[in-house]
């Protein structure tokens, strides 16, 4: 079963006296069950808007979405979801124990189930020591743990986490990463947003990249990166300047290495083979040869730049629409 399906999901914020903000436009997305899906985008790209739509906090301007086949506008859809907001805020005057109890009651768990829920969740998130301290004095990392704990209450099959790792120290990030993987192994679906690629690269099967409210790319990481990961870097020694001067057009870039020798980048493996033959013929020594993988980071930047160039054209219809209103 698909965990999340969105069809033309859009959100436009309108406020008096201001131009409408198209925070999300025509999002079509499918997330399969038991998948870890990374939702990427810069600040202001529309990630939180999407997540608030999926959790029923805001209402779509157009389009629809369903979680495990239940339309998001019904409260029943929220049975399927555990949600952790960007910065989880809870009642400061409650303790973690009371907080879990409260959310468990909102989910309609019986007293016994609530007790069991606390036992499991507090063990998983290491909340026992701080069980009876008020949240008021908690650090960011402790709050994040409580936030994750609340998302797990009622054992929902889908976890939607908004920037779960932002603002955490490396240890905290690793904890969240491990929790996500642990939840995946238990069969849960995890949809989380981030603006940091390294968070996503390691644990996500698929990613969606959001640029200015539009889904710019959505695929397996290997597919997204694979497309462009063809160029090859060759390092060689003992090449004379005549050889360098006569290099063909297939060499994209070349530079002299500080430690001696040359670094050459060619377009593809075919060109690389050819160059290696030429280097041997000229009496040079091959030092290394390896494919240049475009990291997701580079890919991301490239997509963003592409969108930036396209932006002035895109803006026009929006401006027209605003004028008509």
């Amino acid at each position: 079963m698909t965990a999340i399906v969105t069809e033309g999901l859009s959100k436009t914020y309108k406020s008096l006296g201001k131009a409408p903000v198209h925070s999300l436009s025509d999002l079509n997305l499918t997330v399969e069950e038991n998948e870890v899906f990374g939702f990427l985008g810069r600040n202001g790209a529309g990630k939180t808007t999407t997540i608030k739509l999926l959790t029923g906090l805001i209402h779509p301007t157009a389009g629809r979405a369903a979680l495990f086949g239940t339309d998001i506008i019904t409260p029943d859809a929220r049975r399927m979801v555990g949600y952790m907001p960007e910065q989880p805020y809870f009642y400061e005057y409650l303790t973690p124990r009371e907080t879990i109890e409260f959310y468990a009651r909102l989910r309609g768990l019986t007293a016994e189930e609530r007790e069991r829920e606390w036992e499991q969740i507090s063990a998983l998130l290491d909340l026992r020591d701080i069980a009876n301290r008020r949240i008021r004095g908690f650090s960011k990392g402790m709050r994040q743990r409580v936030g994750f704990a609340v998302a797990l209450v009622g054992d929902p099959p889908l976890l939607i986490l908004d920037e779960p790792m932002s603002g955490l120290d490396p240890l905290g990030r690793r904890m969240i990463r491990e929790l996500i993987l642990q939840m995946r192994d238990r069969g849960k679906t995890i949809f989380f947003s981030s603006h940091v690629l390294s968070d996503v690269e390691e644990i996500c099967a698929r990613v969606g990249i959001l640029v200015s409210g539009k889904l710019a790319a959505c695929d397996r990481i290997s597919a997204l990166v694979g497309d462009v990961a063809k160029s090859v870097e060759i390092c060689a020694r003992g090449l004379d300047s005549a050889f360098i001067a006569n290099l063909g057009g297939q060499v994209i870039s070349h530079e002299e290495r500080k430690e001696g020798g040359h670094r050459l980048v060619v377009q593809d493996t075919e060109a690389a083979n050819q160059l290696v033959v030429e280097i041997n013929r000229a009496g040079g020594t091959l030092l290394s040869l390896h494919p240049v993988q475009e990291s997701l980071e580079d890919f991301f930047t490239r997509i963003q730049e592409g969108a930036q160039v396209a932006l002035p054209e895109e803006k026009q219809p929006a401006a027209l629409a605003a004028a008509e209103e």
């Binding site: 914020y13 959790t55 906090l57 409260p75 929220r78 949600y83 805020y89 409650l94 409260f102 909102l106």
Partner: protein, 254 residues
């Protein structure tokens, strides 16, 4: 229903732990006893005035709780984002609004019970008799406060707490003087302002309906029929305001 109760209990707990209540209760008690210290009355002399002051204090301090906590009740949750994780639960929004409302009404109820206890003890000490009409008067004050709280929660779903508090305060004050809008002096006859002001008469609940202060002070019995009428009037207003509050909150983006 369990979800409404969970929200209500939590609201109750919040107010207890935030200690706002203690401050107000302190002032209420101080007013009641202060009247003695200030030398307005001496033992056995004027029970009437003590009763008047006690009821006025309950009404005013109850209203302060209703207005100050009530006007920020929903707004604060949006502002502090505590609402996000709550509305993301399988919970209808009206359940949240009603839970918040009932929690606050319970707080006010506790405050009223405490103030009643203090006042009865004090009256006894001063040698005054407490009869049924005393409790009827307090019951209607409670009804009035429940109505004011409903106004406050409606506004807290619509406007900022300061704005909401000011509006509810105005309603509280004009609500005690709605007859003014009805019985206008003759120079208003056949004017637009007369019609506008008459609209006010119907838009603002008549809070004097709940005022048994002079009857209680003078020990004049009040019929059960009147009390029932006043309660029905208050409940009808409260129900309408709560429905509006739920509707206002239903479609709102948070």
């Amino acid at each position: 229903m369990t979800r409404i109760i969970a929200v209500a209990e939590n609201t109750f707990r919040e107010s207890i732990r935030d200690k706002v209540l203690y401050v107000l209760l302190f002032f209420a008690a101080a007013t009641i006893f202060g009247s003695k210290i200030l030398g307005w009355i001496s033992i056995g002399q004027d029970i009437k005035i003590i009763k008047d002051i006690c009821l006025a204090a309950m009404s005013v301090f109850g209203a302060l709780i209703a207005i100050f906590i009530g006007a920020s009740l929903v707004y604060k949750e949006i502002d502090k984002k505590t609402l996000y994780t709550i509305l993301a639960q399988p919970l209808h929004r009206y359940e949240f609004v009603l839970g918040k409302y009932l929690g606050l009404v319970a707080i006010i109820g506790v405050a009223i019970v405490l103030m009643t206890g203090i006042s009865v003890g004090y009256l006894y000490f001063m040698g005054g008799a407490v009869t049924l009409v005393w409790f009827q008067a307090i019951l209607l004050i409670f009804m009035k406060l429940a109505l004011i709280t409903a106004f406050a929660i409606l506004l807290s779903a619509l406007v900022s707490p300061i704005m909401g508090a000011i509006i509810v305060f105005c309603i509280y004050v004009t609500g005690h003087a709605t007859e003014v809008f009805k019985d206008l002096p003759p120079q208003f006859d056949d004017t637009i302002s007369r019609q506008v002001l008459e609209i006010f008469y119907y838009l603002i609940p008549n809070l004097n309906t709940f005022n048994l202060q002079s009857e209680a002070a003078n020990n004049v019995p009040v019929t059960g029929a009147y009390v029932s009428f006043a309660l029905a009037y208050g409940l009808a207003w409260t129900a309408m305001l709560l429905i509006l509050a739920c509707l206002a909150f239903e479609g709102r983006d948070v």
